[in-house]
Symmetry: C2
Subunit: 105 residues, 2 copies
Amino acid sequence: MGNLDTTFAALSHGTRRAILARLMHGESRLSDLAEPFNMSQTAVSKHVRVLSDAGLLIVEKRGRARHCRLNAEPMKVATDWLIDYQAFWTHQFDNLAQHLAGEGD
Amino acid sequence: MGNLDTTFAALSHGTRRAILARLMHGESRLSDLAEPFNMSQTAVSKHVRVLSDAGLLIVEKRGRARHCRLNAEPMKVATDWLIDYQAFWTHQFDNLAQHLAGEGD
DNA sequence: GTATCACTGAACCATTTGGTTGACAATATA
DNA sequence: TATATTGTCAACCAAATGGTTCAGTGATAC
């Protein structure tokens, strides 16, 4: 749990990103999360499991319901990794790359 | 190509992230990319294909070699998506969530 | 022209993923 | 107690993923 592999893998599915987006508005029960999706509750439950394993949300058993809430911490780690490439998407990454290559490793 | 699904999926494998990291230092031939990895060149070629399909690198045929160079643009899109959650990992995302939930959707 | 290098494509394989259904467990309600 | 709600677990399935090997293609070097 919590490594870049599992974080990025968890984020690579639209349904799971939609679940996270929903949880930005506040915590939600699993059945409420499942309602808008055109799939079985079991399927949504599996997606929640993937997100939970990745540490992106926290499930709390309360009565017979499971309440999910966002835990964005792993996203920070993922973002930190991506940010290293910022220079390459902002401007002349092409030149920079050639420059670095020219300087010898 | 270029959607969040394929971008995050491409980033979810350590080998592929290592390839991208290597390309930060400048472009590289496929065989040079493959060298440090303990797997066949075919396997690396497949990873490069995944990255290429995701738009994260550009392959240019030059003579008999394939030269790969970084294209970080899709990372910006992924980062933009992640940044929306920044408030939830910086401070009291818990309180914020409860506040938003309390305010009614 | 022939051999070598760099790479792709096809076939294969094991594992994972994303979905289904049906049975069950646990909790709340009537 | 009986019943409905909430969710999990197990079994199953098709498709995708990540790797292999072997054969072939196209460009370079000798």
